[in-house]
């Protein structure tokens, strides 16, 4: 930890000014990523994880806005103060992004080789010929068989797994320092997901790239990440090393997520549930944003917005239980109860 982190996000706030009110999608998020490390960012729909990723690359469009006071330090410069040309030099060059949906992220009317070569032509001003050979080289790197022929094909001629490899190839062209992967395997079948995760791990080992892996799947997190940030309601609610997070989750939301997952080979009678639904970003609850769904919540949780408490080395949690640990008993009785009517929490979303 002597070295400066590659990326430091501090107090990031991204708000959307909609007709229905201000959606505070990302609301004071801070974390950092060290060189060569894989940080997992986990959370459910609407927790702000994708907006965080888009904010880092300044891909937020109106009515969204990154609020003043937010800072994103990358390789010593604040990305939020760069002009348009400046951020374009970072995007796709020093920081690359892999999107979830490999069909829509590729242009259907250009060959995959052209699309990969374009990156080299834009960022490295490579000649058409050099860019093409770089594209073929990248396709080889990501394990696409017959790369020279594949480069001349169009996205629809490739399977989902192949397309995701093409996106990874495109991200790697400029040998970026950081890859932001937003649910890169969610649209893929499980055997193809295993191939892609293996590829990412292998590439990282060879190239030393940092990866921010954004996913809702704790299984994927356990496979690839060394450190994890758990997001809920536009905030970081827990951060820890991956082993700590799975063995000793502190925040009741993390605990609930881990219990709610059915696991292969560990059949249980009944799944624990987190009751209710994620509240809309236009109306986060006061105090703790998870309190409506929390088995332990008491009056302090409504009154006082919890800070990130220090739990252990590199382990923080946004829960007052850190201050009053005796309240953790009785253990999760409310959440594991057999009630079926769980639609609490204020009605339709």
């Amino acid at each position: 930890m002597t070295q400066l982190p590659l990326l430091t996000v501090s107090d990031l706030r991204t708000y959307f000014y909609t007709g229905a009110g201000v959606a505070r999608a990302v609301d004071g998020v801070s974390f950092d990523i060290a060189a060569g490390e894989t940080l997992g960012i986990v959370g459910e729909s609407g927790c702000g994880k994708s907006v965080t990723a888009l904010s880092i690359l300044r891909l937020i469009q109106r009515p969204g806005r990154i609020e003043p006071g937010s800072r994103i330090l990358f390789e010593g410069q604040d990305l939020l103060t760069l002009d348009d040309a400046g951020i374009r030099r970072v995007r796709g060059n020093r920081i690359a992004m892999i999107f979830q949906e490999p069909m829509t992220a590729l242009n259907p009317v250009f060959t995959v080789g052209d699309q990969i070569a374009e990156v080299a032509r834009v960022h490295a001003s490579a000649s058409r010929r050099d860019a093409w050979s770089r594209a073929v080289e990248m396709l080889t790197l990501v394990g696409i068989p017959a790369p020279a022929e594949r480069a001349s094909q169009y996205p629809h001629q490739l399977s989902g797994g192949m397309r995701q490899r093409v996106l990874i190839a495109m991200a790697l062209v400029m040998n970026p320092a950081l890859i932001i992967a937003d649910e890169p395997t969610t649209a893929l079948d499980v055997t193809i997901q295993a191939q892609i995760l293996e590829l990412l791990a292998d590439l990282q080992q060879r190239l030393g790239t940092s990866i921010a892996m954004i996913t809702h799947d704790l299984g994927v997190i356990a496979e690839v990440a060394s450190r994890v940030v758990v997001m809920y309601g536009g905030e970081v609610v827990e951060e820890a090393r991956v082993e700590t997070l799975f063995a000793e989750p502190h925040h009741p939301y993390t605990e609930g997520l881990l219990h709610a997952m059915p696991r292969v080979g560990r059949r249980q009678e009944r799944l624990a549930v987190i009751p209710g639904n994620v509240p809309p970003p236009t109306a986060w609850p006061t105090g703790c944003r998870f309190r409506d769904r929390c088995a332990y919540a008491w009056e302090r949780c409504e009154r006082e917005h919890p800070p990130l408490y220090h739990i252990g080395a590199g382990h923080v949690s946004r829960c007052h239980l850190a201050d009053e640990p005796e309240r953790r008993t009785p253990k999760r009785t409310a959440a594991t109860a057999t009630a079926t009517a769980v639609s609490v929490g204020g009605g339709p979303a």
Binding site: T191, A194, F246, V264, N277, T340
Partner: protein, 372 residues
């Protein structure tokens, strides 16, 4: 199919009662039309000779990857898609022989819950009207009686009765899936085909819906055909599980047996590929090469042979179609290299076999060192 005797009757858990649903040799081939005049371009064999039985009160899980035919199979059973050939019997009724009005009567007893809670509910109908529609069509209730039933159903699936006057867009994914469940329950079906009912939902909400489905099954003695790609969800909810690959069932066993000792190498690889939410688990894993082949042009012999990691794989696998046969009591699998097999060794040799069948069970890769 080389061995009809072993294929005919994949066993079920309760041998005494007749099955509620019985499917035999079901196929669905979608023709491919080429060019302006629709020349015959062959066909996609989406479902290719599937036989299974589901007992009353049971949950049969169907797992497989995209394009394996699991959704087509579910829709063929309700005749939302007309099968190409094969038999479907529901409670003794020959489903394929029914005319339109008898089919409508059958659909009161067999319902379906769809994957996407956003596109499967009519956005212009209120929740009440959506749930009520089935009651009206099947003349089960009308007027104030129907209103009362709708409120009851919403309450039963964990929604507030006053939501009946709202529209689907006002609800979250989990709540919409509850509306879909209420709609299916309205006509008091006996069998519900659940087609990926939780795969569009977040983990915390997914657990709520799974628990709801289990409670309803217990209270109403429902039978489920539960189609999903998520192996952990299927293990949790299913009594027995069928694994599909390229339109065929390649393994069928009780949930406990299938997950403890998968026999078909494809099932082994599938289980091995599931990410384990435990960072201390061993990273050993079977990673299959390549993609699932096109069902328009499936490989010869065993459809899995181009990707199969079984060390005994040889030329015979490319020539002999492996029958779905009973490898252990009530445990069916289609692989001529996993003994015992009804395909005799001399027949395998004639087809070019060089490796005698030998049991292959890479447990470490399947359980990730989590053996309990």
């Amino acid at each position: 199919m080389t061995d009809v005797a072993a294929v005919r009757d994949p066993s079920r858990t309760s041998a005494s009662a007749p099955p509620l649903l019985s499917v035999s040799q079901l196929t669905k081939h979608f023709p491919i039309k080429r060019g302006l005049f629709g020349r015959d371009g062959g066909s996609v064999r989406a479902v290719d000779g599937v036989s299974l039985e589901v007992g009353r009160g049971e949950t049969l899980g169907i797992v497989g990857e995209s394009g394996c035919g699991k959704t087509t199979l579910g829709r063929c059973i309700l005749r939302l898609i007309e099968p190409t050939s094969g038999q479907i019997h529901f409670d003794g009724i020959d489903v394929r022989a029914l005319d339109a009005s008898s089919l409508r009567r059958l659909r009161r007893r067999v319902q379906i819950i769809f994957q996407d809670p956003f596109s499967s509910l009519n956005p212009r109908m209120t929740v009440g009207a959506i749930v009520r529609e089935g009651l009206t069509i099947h003349r089960l209730a009308a007027g104030a009686d129907a209103d009362r039933r709708v409120r009851q159903l919403l309450d039963e699936v964990g929604l507030r009765p006053e939501y009946a006057s709202r529209y689907p867009h006002e609800f979250s994914g989990g709540q919409r899936q509850r509306i879909g469940i209420a709609r299916a329950l309205a006509v008091e079906p006996e069998l519900i085909v659940c087609d990926e009912p939780v795969s569009a939902l977040d983990v915390s909400v997914q657990a709520q819906v799974i628990n709801l489905l289990q409670d309803l099954q217990r209270d109403r003695n429902l039978t489920y055909l539960f189609i999903a790609h998520d192996l952990s969800v299927v293990e949790h909810i299913a009594t027995r599980v069928a694994v599909m690959y390229l339109g065929k069932i390649v393994e069928l066993a009780s949930s406990a047996d299938l997950y403890r000792e998968p026999i078909m190498p494809y099932t082994q690889a599938l289980l091995s590929a599931v990410p384990v939410p435990d960072p201390t688990a061993s990273r050993e894993r079977i990673v299959l090469t390549g993609d699932v082949p096109s069902p328009a042009n499936p490989p010869s012999g065993c459809v899995f042979h181009p990707r199969c990691p079984h060390p005994g794989k040889d030329t015979a696998c490319t020539a002999i179609v492996p029958p779905l046969e009973e490898k252990a009591p009530a445990h069916w699998a289609a692989c001529i290299k996993q003994p015992p097999t009804t395909v005799p060794w001399h027949a395998q040799q004639q087809a070019g076999a060089t490796h005698a069948p030998e049991r292959h069970l890479p447990l470490a890769a399947i359980t990730h060192g989590l053996t309990s």
